[in-house]
């Protein structure tokens, strides 16, 4: 079979001593920068780019890919330990992961995240290997109308993210949408809500907003009540999940992998949706939805698997079309070009060693990550015992460096401060930051694709219903909406009944 000989070729390339070493360096570096709050894969890869020129093309790409998924991995560590997601995908992990940590189950959360990610990484790597070309065809069928409907579905799902009031969650989504509008309108060139500051012409920086509303706000809350944090470290009973907990994670991990693999293929922001979508699915299927937001195991296992699966399958458009799905992929294209390999539809056939070598290295890299990270869990958890007056200034400094390094823009630091304050106020008002972040990420995509679909259809709104994929997605959103509101309505009716009984 072709596939087997291809994979064999891939593994022979990836398991050469040098390539194994570069893969290890990549995942190590990735884990490290992922763990440092605020410093993302984009900045690191940009800094390392010149070094890779001296390497073999395969080695350099294996290393860069390692940094990318290593950072995804490390990013969940900070999300769980200090409520500081560095990437949009780990924002969801922060919701329940951090609550688990607060209850002394940080070790369990980290182990579940690591094992879930490994499983998802393994499965999706094989998906990439087997289905890359046909999946690309599917991705190309997604035009503006389809993306719009997909975003609608994502926003509807976001309501399920809230574990308190639905109205407040909606308010946060809308606030997020508005914040997402800051910047230059791509259709008219008009600057919107930039207050005349050119530095905001390209919009607010995601990392700045996320670090602010999650991380800085959390620091402010912790400083307010030092006692709260002590509980976190004193209650640690065990580092690894029990057999029963392992059994509990099987379902969420499988579903998360499926959701993530499918959404990761779509180049226009599909991967962003993966962890959000998985969280919604788990909450809906759970026998104890009330646990979500209070430290539900499935709320970590599902989204973590989904985001890792999405991270792997988002290589498909890069490798088969030469089109980057996100800024990290754009950097990898830059690296390939400088190496004299111009990414495009022919890479698979012209550079089989490169293509299959990278795919095989992804699997090896995921294995390394899990071997590397399981023993590290003890160390990370011990990090929580560092006195907070030492820990929080370090976190603040790392955040600021990380945010600044994304675009060398001082205004991003002002944004961190502002959103930190906003996040603190929000927590006082019992509003959740996750729906805000989702609105912030999806809002611009929703608007962009809505307007593009309308331009392409010459102003005919039925385009969303006449295109089959788009119509299906809209129907699904309607279904989700009903599922979300049904229990609410039923509960209210029950409440009314109990009251009248009394």
């Amino acid at each position: 079979m072709d596939l087997i000989s291809n994979l064999a070729l891939g593994f022979s390339v990836a398991s050469s001593f040098a390539n194994l070493a570069f893969c290890l360096i990549g995942v190590l570096l990735g884990t490290l920068i992922g763990v440092l709050p605020g410093i993302g894969a984009t900045a690191t890869i940009a800094m390392l780019l010149p070094i890779t020129f001296q390497l073999e093309p395969v080695s350099s790409l294996i290393m860069l890919a390692g940094i990318y998924y290593g950072a995804q991995y490390g990013g969940s560590t900070t999300a769980i330990l200090i409520n500081m997601p560095g990437e949009s995908s780990s924002a969801v992990t922060a919701i329940d992961g951090y609550q688990m940590a607060r209850k002394g189950r940080a070790g369990t959360a980290l182990a579940v995240a690591a094992l879930g990610s490994f499983f998802a990484g393994t499965v999706s790597t094989f998906l990439v290997a087997i289905f890359a070309p046909p999946l690309t065809e599917v991705a190309l069928k997604f035009g503006a109308a389809e993306y719009f409907s997909l975003m609608v579905m994502g926003l509807v799902m976001s309501v399920a993210l809230a574990h308190g009031s639905v109205v407040k969650a909606l308010a946060m989504v809308v606030l997020g949408l508005l914040l997402g509008l800051v910047g230059t309108d791509i259709y008219t060139g008009a600057p919107r809500f930039t207050m005349g500051i050119t530095q905001y012409a390209d919009g607010l920086n995601f990392v700045a907003v996320a670090v602010g509303v999650f991380g800085i706000a959390e620091i402010l809350r912790n400083l307010e009540d030092e006692h709260d944090r002590e509980v976190m470290t004193k209650n640690i009973t065990r580092l690894f999940p029990t057999r029963q907990e392992l059994k509990q994670m099987i379902g969420p991990v499988l579903r998360g992998t499926g959701v993530g693999s499918v959404l990761g293929i779509l180049p226009g922001g599909g991967a962003i949706l993966a962890s959000f979508a998985s969280y919604t699915v788990e909450k809906k299927l759970s026998a104890h939805p009330e646990e979500f937001g209070q430290g539900a195991l499935a709320g970590v296992a599902g989204p973590e698997s989904a985001n890792n699966a999405g991270a792997q399958t988002s290589f498909i458009p890069l490798l088969t079309l030469g089109i980057p799905a996100n800024p990290v992929m754009a950097l990898m294209i830059g690296a390939m070009i400088i190496q004299g390999i111009v990414p495009g539809p022919n890479v698979v056939s012209e550079q089989p060693r490169l293509f299959w070598g990278i795919i095989a290295s992804m699997w090896i890299g995921n294995l390394m990550l899990v071997v590397l990270n399981l023993p590290l869990i003890g160390l990370w958890v011990r990090l929580l015992t560092v006195p907070y007056y030492v820990l929080f200034p370090i976190i603040m400094a790392m955040c600021s460096i990380g945010v600044y390094s994304v675009a060398s823009n001082t205004y991003d630091l002002f944004a961190v401060a502002f959103f930190g304050l906003l996040g603190y106020v929000m927590s006082k008002l019992r509003c959740e930051p996750a729906p805000l972040l989702l609105g912030f990420v999806l809002g611009p995509l929703l608007e962009e694709n809505l307007r593009r679909a309308m331009i392409l259809s010459r102003g005919d709104p039925t385009t969303f219903l006449t295109r089959p994929i788009s119509a299906t997605l809209l129907l699904l959103s309607l279904g989700v909406l009903i599922l979300v509101f049904m229990p609410q309505i039923r509960k209210r009716r029950d409440e009314v009944f109990t009251e009248s009984d009394a």
Binding site: T184, I337, G340, V342, A407, I455
Partner: protein, 324 residues
């Protein structure tokens, strides 16, 4: 203690260096600002050239990506930087078009910089989705004119190379197509590959591999001469579209007041880099070529910038689209 002596020695060195500044330049690493994000086509050009220039200058050139607002943020930073030769800017055609596209620039394009030289002029290709009907560019012209109302023209956002070339195409054909802006070349190309849009005009750096792979169709090149890479593609000009000459030229600038000797030295390093086999090959892979040594000079870049500002001003004003 050795420190006082060391400090004394350092002071002495500084005093010695000051008057003879330009001769002793460069003493430390040089920052090359690229006003776009890392990994993009301009960044790639900068990194190719910077590596070779470093070798010639004997000092490392590091790339700093200051993206945003169509390259005007990075250019603005360099305009304000110390004119000591340790900050340089690599910018493309946007340097000239932003002078008109942005009505409130923080700097005066023609007055804020000194010039080092032209780096490369990347040709552009008129491309379409792969099942677009016309067989050649002659048919293309008449087909587009007849079906203007039903065709869509994609671009990578206001001020982008594809936007500029698209404006030029419409003005040369005297048609108004429905333009569909995207956030960057990637998504615009994806939709063209998927047949969601009909036409685009973009740099060879972005289109070459797709054309070779047969996933999109190429009709004409936008330079006065045919390309070695696509010898059978006609130029737009030879097909009767007068004045349709668009290329994405890249130049290196320094802040106003940088000593002429320093610019000359940078220019020499640039010429050396552009003559390097590796650079020539890397550029050829992307469908472009280094600028000839005669163009990699301060005078040539100054002339280019002035003529291009004048040439694009009416085109942009006629389209009535501004980026602010």
């Amino acid at each position: 203690m050795a420190y006082p002596r060391l400090i004394g020695a350092l002071c002495a060195t500084t005093m010695l260096v000051a008057p003879a500044f330009a001769q002793d330049w460069p003493q430390r690493q040089i920052t090359m600002v690229v006003p776009f994000s890392a990994g993009g086509p301009t960044d790639t050009v900068a990194r190719m050239v910077a590596e070779r220039m470093s070798a010639d200058l004997g000092q490392q050139i590091i790339i700093e990506n200051i993206g945003g607002a169509g390259g005007t943020l990075g250019a603005g930073n360099v305009a304000k930087a110390d004119a000591d030769g340790y900050t340089v800017l690599l910018h493309h055609i946007g340097m000239a078009t932003s002078a008109t596209l942005y009505r409130n620039l923080a700097y005066d394009t023609l007055d804020a910089f000194e010039y080092v030289g032209l780096v490369t002029e990347v040709p552009m290709v008129v491309v379409s989705r792969k099942d677009f009907e016309p067989k050649d560019f002659k048919e293309f012209i008449s087909y587009v004119k007849d079906n203007a109302d039903n065709l869509t023209l994609a671009n990578a956002g206001i001020g982008s190379a594809s936007h500029l070339c698209g404006m030029m195409l419409m003005s040369a054909l005297d048609v108004q197509l429905v333009t569909v802006p995207y956030k960057g070349t990637g998504p615009a190309m994806t939709d063209l590959l998927g047949g969601q849009t009909d036409l685009m005009c973009d740099q060879t750096t972005n289109t070459t591999q797709q054309i070779k792979g047969g996933t999109i169709k190429a009709y004409a090149v936008t330079t006065p001469e045919r390309l070695e890479l696509f010898a059978d593609l006609p130029t737009a000009m030879e097909s009767g579209l007068d004045g349709f000459d668009v290329s994405i030229w890249h130049g290196i600038y320094t802040p106003k007041g940088t000593p002429a000797e320093v610019n000359e030295r940078l220019s020499k390093a640039l010429q050396a880099a552009l003559a390097d086999e590796g650079v020539i090959k890397a550029m050829a892979d992307l469908g472009t070529a280094p600028s000839p040594a005669g163009d990699a000079t301060p005078e040539a870049l100054k002339t280019k910038l002035e003529t291009e500002i004048a040439r694009w001003k009416p085109v942009i004003e006629a389209a009535g689209v501004y980026a602010d």
